[in-house]
């Protein structure tokens, strides 16, 4: 689902984790696999080597091994992944039909720990819904959309709206807004009137100049974006519910997927809202919007009129109903890993890749019957001609 330049695979008994961060450090993702995920998991070797092994692999090469999922599903019986620290090699061996074995040797580099500091417990709001609901919601927004605002509206409804830059002329951009009722969610514990803006799809990752590329002396080409869409695809295929944790604007939003053998986190920076930050909402003198009638067919008119003020008061920060004070964020973490940008930077340049590679260990490794991600597609193709 995620393929930025900066990907790290760390083998830390008893878990295998894959982590990635984008170059502007405004997005971080991690996939954590328990040994049970795999048919055979051996972190072995002479005792001195039975230690934490953290390596950095060019994700593109790694995924290149698994390039064509449909054909892999048909031909590969077993996939063996070996880490040879002394040779600095990651070996991926595909055992295919007819006695064919394909061995890929990838070089890796030792690297530092890559971990964003985040705490879902400290988020004031959280939502949990089947991935399908969120995927269906997201489909109404254009493919090229940069940012979307998630907001808790009256009547317990959750809205998603494309974010329009303040500088853009108001009369030029199409605004799309989607409303989801509370009961579409498995769990919705949100601070009323809360809202955050994050990048939905368009999240260009530029090559990190400090990263020495083992593959070529040229700077690595732009990679596909790191963002929720890929995660949604993965979640839908694995049939797992997606949880969204968020706090006040400016604090990161965290998407999580969990099951017995897999834990996935995607942490994104959110747009900070200068006007509403740290201001406790007031209830005085605010007109209370009527909650939209559930019978939408007849009441669309008044509902649409009623919704007008809140949809256009961008940045006013005053929710229509009394709320409890929002969490005051702690002073900024000193951990340098968590340098979330205040605003996403869409790096302009070549048209972004909107498709994603997905990690699909599940299709070849899962014990029978799990059905984890059997239909996951490798959607992304390289945009570059590096080779």
């Amino acid at each position: 689902s995620l393929c930025p330049v900066h990907s790290v695979m760390s083998v830390c008994p008893p878990q295998l984790s894959l982590r990635a961060v984008n170059s502007s450090r405004s997005a971080f993702a991690s996939f954590l696999f328990a040994p049970l995920f795999f048919q055979l998991y051996e972190a072995s070797g002479p005792p001195p080597h039975l230690e934490l092994c953290r390596c950095k692999v060019l994700m593109k090469s790694f995924l290149g091994v698994f390039r064509s999922l449909p054909s892999l599903e048909k031909t590969v019986g077993k996939c063996l992944i070996l880490l040879k620290p002394r040779a600095s090699r990651l070996v991926v061996q595909l055992h295919c039909k007819y006695g064919v074995t394909k061995t890929h040797n990838l070089t890796f580099q030792e690297c530092e720990r890559l971990q964003a500091v985040f705490d879902t417990q400290r988020c004031a709001s959280s939502l949990c819904a089947p991935a399908r609901v969120l995927a269906e919601a997201v489909v109404h927004f254009p493919q090229t959309l940069a940012e979307v605002t998630l907001a808790a509206g009256p009547g317990g409804k959750i809205s998603l709206r494309n974010h329009v830059e303040d500088e853009a002329e108001p009369g030029k951009t199409m605004v799309t807004e989607l409303w989801l009722a509370e009961d579409e969610f498995q769990m919705a514990a949100v601070a009323p009137g809360s809202r955050i803006t994050f990048c939905l799809k368009e999240f260009r990752v530029s090559s990190c100049p400090a990263l020495p590329s083992p593959m070529s002396p040229l700077s690595p080409p732009p990679q596909p974006p790191l963002c929720p869409q890929g995660l949604l695809t993965f979640a839908e295929a694995s049939n797992l519910p997606l949880t969204v944790h968020y706090d006040v604007p400016g604090r990161p939003v965290i998407f999580t997927l969990e099951d017995a053998v897999l834990e996935v986190h995607l942490v994104l920076a959110t747009l900070s809202d200068p006007e509403s930050n740290l201001q406790p909402p007031t209830a005085n003198g605010v007109s209370h919007l009527p909650a939209p009638s559930d019978d939408f067919a007849d009441d669309l008119e008044s509902y649409m009129i009623a919704m007008e003020p809140s949809t256009y008061e961008e940045g006013s920060g005053v929710p229509p109903i009394p709320t409890f004070p929002l969490c005051i964020p702690d002073p900024a973490e000193s951990d340098t890993e968590e340098e979330e940008e205040e605003e996403e930077r869409a790096v302009l340049g070549t048209p972004p890749h909107k498709k994603f590679r997905s990690l699909f260990f599940g299709s070849v490794l899962t014990p029978g019957g799990r059905g984890l991600a059997p239909t996951l597609e490798v959607l992304a193709e390289d945009s570059d001609g590096e080779y």
């Binding site: 199409m174 799309t176 409303w179 989801l180 009722a181 509370e182 579409e184 559930d294 939408f296």
Partner: protein, 284 residues
């Protein structure tokens, strides 16, 4: 000035969406004219369009379950809006399984067409999606720019070949040349030709048939007294032709073109409840 309309029937919604998709492929921006009984999508032949113009007419009754319009004034009971049809196309794209779609002209911060889609959901209440499409209101003094174009005094009128075939031919020709010559005669023959320094390619179509035009005051007499074998031709921009052909999502009931030699080609595509006219001027 008010406008509200509602579509409930999925087939109508699908049909309307396909019309909008076709328009979106033909024009980046166009005028939408609303009258009590019809909708028109109009592209007038400005230089910016390369001289191309379009006139598309729909009967609202064939698409909308509810349609209420109040024009700018009683004696001018019409509304002219400027919009980007691609926005409307996008708004309708994900509405194909909607319970209802309502379109309304609003003016909160700026004039918008608000498309409100009510979608089915597993929860007790429906899912609502609203799309606010910014529009420009075209003032009455400019309405003259958007009058229905008259059928030109053509030399040859001929039915088009199957559009899909024509499209695949033109698509391949596009790689070889920027302009294409359409020529046809009154014996039902049409040729599509491209000519470059290196190569010339011609595709011949036969037995296409020529539509009978009722002569009004003998204005078509030039066509009637014409030699049946003689070809009328016009060289036009190949991309504009391809835009027209590629945008067709449904096979029209009738498709024909009128050629004014070396001046203009006038395409008419008729469906049951939609008519589309497209004018491509000849290149110098």
């Amino acid at each position: 000035m008010r406008f509200r309309a509602k579509i409930v029937d999925l087939a109508c919604l699908n049909h309307f969406s396909r019309v909008i998709n076709t328009i979106a492929k033909l024009a980046k921006t166009c005028a939408l004219r609303l009258t009590v009984s019809k909708l028109y999508f109009i592209l007038s032949d400005k230089v910016a369009n390369g001289g191309v113009s379009m006139w598309c007419e729909l009967c609202q009754g064939n698409f909308f379950d509810e349609f209420q319009m109040e024009g700018v004034a009683a004696e001018h009971n019409e509304i002219y809006l400027e919009l980007v049809p691609e926005n409307l196309s996008r708004a309708l794209k994900t509405a194909q399984n909607a319970k209802a779609v309502k379109i309304k002209l609003t003016n909160k911060h700026c004039p918008c067409l608000r498309v409100a889609v009510e979608l089915p959901s597993l929860s007790s209440s429906s899912r609502m999606v609203t799309h606010d499409i910014p529009v420009g209101v075209i003032p009455r003094r400019l309405w003259n720019d958007f009058r229905e174009p008259s059928v030109p005094d053509f030399d040859v009128s001929i039915y088009l070949p199957v559009l899909k075939t024509m499209k695949s031919v033109v698509e391949r020709m596009k790689n070889l040349s920027n302009s294409i010559v359409i020529e046809a005669n009154l014996s039902g023959e049409m040729n599509l030709k491209i000519e470059t320094d290196l190569v010339s390619v011609t595709t011949h179509f036969k037995d296409l048939g020529n539509p009978p035009w009722a002569s009004e005051d003998g204005c078509q007499s030039s066509a009637q007294s014409r030699d049946l074998e003689s070809m009328a031709e016009a060289r036009i921009d190949i991309k504009k032709l391809l835009q027209l052909l590629a945008g067709q999502q449904v096979n029209p009931t009738k498709a024909l073109c009128n050629i004014v030699s070396k001046r203009i080609v006038h395409f008419i595509l008729l469906h049951e409840d939609v008519s589309l006219q497209y004018f491509i001027p000849a290149l110098a």
